[in-house]
């Protein structure tokens, strides 16, 4: 693990997130506000992810974490504020453009293509950067063969990577919950992301499985992918992330290294409660 990359100069949470003009900023939330009628789900959120880090997003239920993901991936459009990815604004971009631009995600409630096999699910992700379209598929042009072969090989490799290659031919709805979550990760990885967003990937895992997942997330980071992680399991979050932002009621209440966040009284009061036995 290369911890080095994560320890930046600033870790103070107080000033608005404009404090990261570094060239290695990958994604920047700049004063993002998102309202649903009367509910303010995000309230002037600012933070920045750096390339290559594992970044945690935590906070009580309903704090706005998933909404953050949805704003980044184009599912919701912020009421105000900016989201920049590699210097470019994401506001108003189509969902598939954002994905091709390098952001991939998983869902809090698993959303696979239930009747497609595990392999096909991953291939859909791999297709994101292929170009075969109707004409080349219709006439079986060389590009079709090349991309089909590549996509298949790559997808098998990813299934192996997440540890479910033996299920490649199984229809995804028949996989167990844990396998489905892994498959979601493989599918997201297949899109060649620069940034991978995981929404509670460990929900419903037992401690042993969580341990596996922790290893997997590190492995992903080691391939050069930046990871943004939403998770309620503190052992996992504290064990794997480089930096953490804490939300409450749509506001950022803390930002810093795991150690800093864990000891932050505001976070303890709002989220952690009595220090968990897990910690």
């Amino acid at each position: 693990m290369d911890e080095a990359a994560s320890t930046g100069p600033e870790s103070d949470a107080a000033p608005a997130g404009k404090s990261a003009p570094d060239s290695d900023v990958l994604l920047e939330m700049d004063n993002v506000t998102l309202r649903f009628g009367g509910v303010v789900a995000l309230n002037g959120i600012s933070f920045a992810l750096r390339k290559g880090e594992i970044f945690g997003l935590i906070g009580p239920n309903g704090a706005g974490k998933t909404t953050c993901f949805n704003a980044m991936t184009g599912v919701y459009r912020p009421t105000s504020g900016q989201i920049r990815f590699q210097g470019q604004s994401l506001i108003g971009k189509k969902k598939h453009e954002i994905t091709r631009g390098g952001i991939a995600r998983t869902f809090q409630n698993v959303r696979l293509f239930p009747e497609m096999t595990a392999l096909e699910n991953v291939m859909v992700g791999a297709d994101a950067h292929f170009k075969t379209s109707v004409i080349s598929a219709l006439f079986r042009l060389p590009r079709f063969w090349r991309e089909e072969r590549e996509g298949r090989a790559k997808s098998m490799e990813l299934l192996r990577f997440v540890g479910i290659e033996h299920r490649a031919g199984e229809v995804s709805r028949n996989l167990s919950y844990g396998e489905q979550r892994r498959l979601e990760i493989a599918r997201a990885l297949a899109t060649n992301p620069t940034l991978l967003c995981l929404d509670e990937p460990a929900a419903g895992f037992n401690p042993a499985e969580k341990e596996d997942l922790l290893g997997l997330i590190r492995k992903i980071r080691d391939t050069g992918v930046t990871v943004l992680l939403i998770e309620h399991d503190m052992r996992l979050v504290m064990g794997v992330t480089d930096r953490i932002v804490v939300l409450e009621f749509g506001k950022k209440i803390a930002e810093g290294t795991p150690a800093e966040v864990r000891d932050n009284p505001a976070v303890i009061a709002a989220y952690l409660g009595v220090p968990t036995d897990a910690a």
Partner: protein, 374 residues
């Protein structure tokens, strides 16, 4: 029903699955040989009446057998096209007949002496224009409806088809019920100078139709087994998730519409070229619904299923023609009633269709056992 037993899409679902399994296990040359044999048999269908015993059972009695075969060929074509839209991409289209109509009408407008355009092109010349216009119509229909989900899409497509029908009926240039006559037939002469595509003999039309069907089957199959087909499937399963995985849903949905429209339009072009006369009465809504029933009955999402379904929906009513029913009636009179009953029966017995796609068959078997006691 047995008429279809000779076609590649053969027989009952069970044996077809065994057949497919068996076929799958054969080396490529054998597979091709079997396929070629089936195709050859299909081309010989006009003469099936000569086959002793079973032949006469198959051939229709009240209506010319070759004409029925030709009709089957364009119904199959329509089913194949609709299968792309509904079966592959999961876009429920209740107004598919609209494209059939557009194809036929553009042909008529360009070729018939009755047309306001006075171009009087030949049939072949009209084809590219007709297909281009239908594809455009497909995209035009697709574009505004992209935001609509499932059943809303269904009603809008139904609305579009009705709009086309009403225009065909009521707009002066479309000539309504008066229609367009003297639409030219496909070109070509035999050695003795008589046209190949005449009016009294429909066999050449059937062969033409069958050939087109075969070409389309290959095209559609190629699409299905590619990134395009995968994208359609993903869209069908979870559109938003697909988009978030980078699938350009809009593009592929439009393609589905365009391809479906293309194939439907082709059916229309062939129909116009054969009858030589079209008017607004042909393109009724029930027609779309019938084709949809064919697709689903055959096995939505499966090419062989679409072929079988399309063939059945045109064969069965025609076969009933000329058969003595109760009270001194022609069974043809009861065709839709019988047909409706058959649809219910088939769907209840085989909810996934007669020849389900392998995927759907599996799915169903799983789902079935899961069903909780009601």
């Amino acid at each position: 029903m047995s008429a279809i037993a000779e076609k590649p899409a053969a027989g009952s679902g069970k044996s077809s699955r065994q057949l497919r399994g068996w076929l799958g296990r054969q080396p490529a040359p054998v597979r091709w040989l079997v396929i070629i044999a089936f195709v050859a048999a299909a081309y010989l269908l006009p003469y099936v009446g000569e086959v002793p015993l079973i032949g006469p059972q198959i051939v229709t009695t009240g209506v010319d057998w070759s004409t029925v075969l030709f009709e089957m060929s364009y119904y199959v074509l329509l089913a194949l096209g609709l299968n792309v839209v509904v079966g592959f991409a999961g876009l429920l289209d209740l107004g598919y007949v609209g494209f059939f109509a557009v194809g036929a009408y553009v042909t008529a407008l360009l070729t018939s002496p009755d047309s306001v355009l006075h171009t009087q092109y030949g049939w072949v010349v009209a084809i590219p224009a007709a297909l281009a216009v239908t594809m455009l119509a497909g995209v035009l229909l697709g574009w505004p409806t992209l935001r609509l989900r499932g059943d809303y899409l269904a009603i809008v497509t139904l609305g579009f088809a009705e709009i086309i029908r009403i225009i065909a009926t009521s707009a002066t240039w479309a000539r309504g019920d008066r229609g367009f006559s003297s639409i030219p037939h496909p070109p070509g002469k035999t050695s003795d100078g008589t046209p190949i595509f005449g009016v009294t003999d429909a066999i050449p039309y059937f062969w033409l139709g069958l050939t087109v069907v075969i070409v389309i089957v290959f095209g559609v199959r190629n699409l299905d087994r590619s990134r395009v087909g995968r994208s359609w499937l993903a869209i069908r399963e979870d559109e938003e998730a697909a988009e978030i995985m980078g699938v350009r849903t809009i593009k592929f949905k439009l393609w589905a519409f365009a391809i479906g429209a293309f194939i439907g339009g082709l059916g229309g072009v062939m129909f116009a070229g054969e009858t030589g006369f079209i008017n607004s009465q042909t393109f009724i809504l029930q027609f779309s619904i019938l084709v949809l029933a064919g697709v689903v009955m055959g096995g939505s999402g499966n090419i062989a299923g679409a072929i079988l379904g399309g063939a059945l929906i045109s064969y069965i009513p025609n076969r009933l023609r000329g058969i003595q029913g109760p009270f001194d009636t022609d069974l043809y009179e009861y065709r839709f009633a019988l047909f409706g009953a058959m649809i219910i029966l088939i769907m209840v017995l085989r909810p996934q269709g007669l020849i389900p796609s392998r995927r759907r068959a599996m799915e169903l078997k799983d789902r079935e056992k899961e069903a909780a006691p009601q």
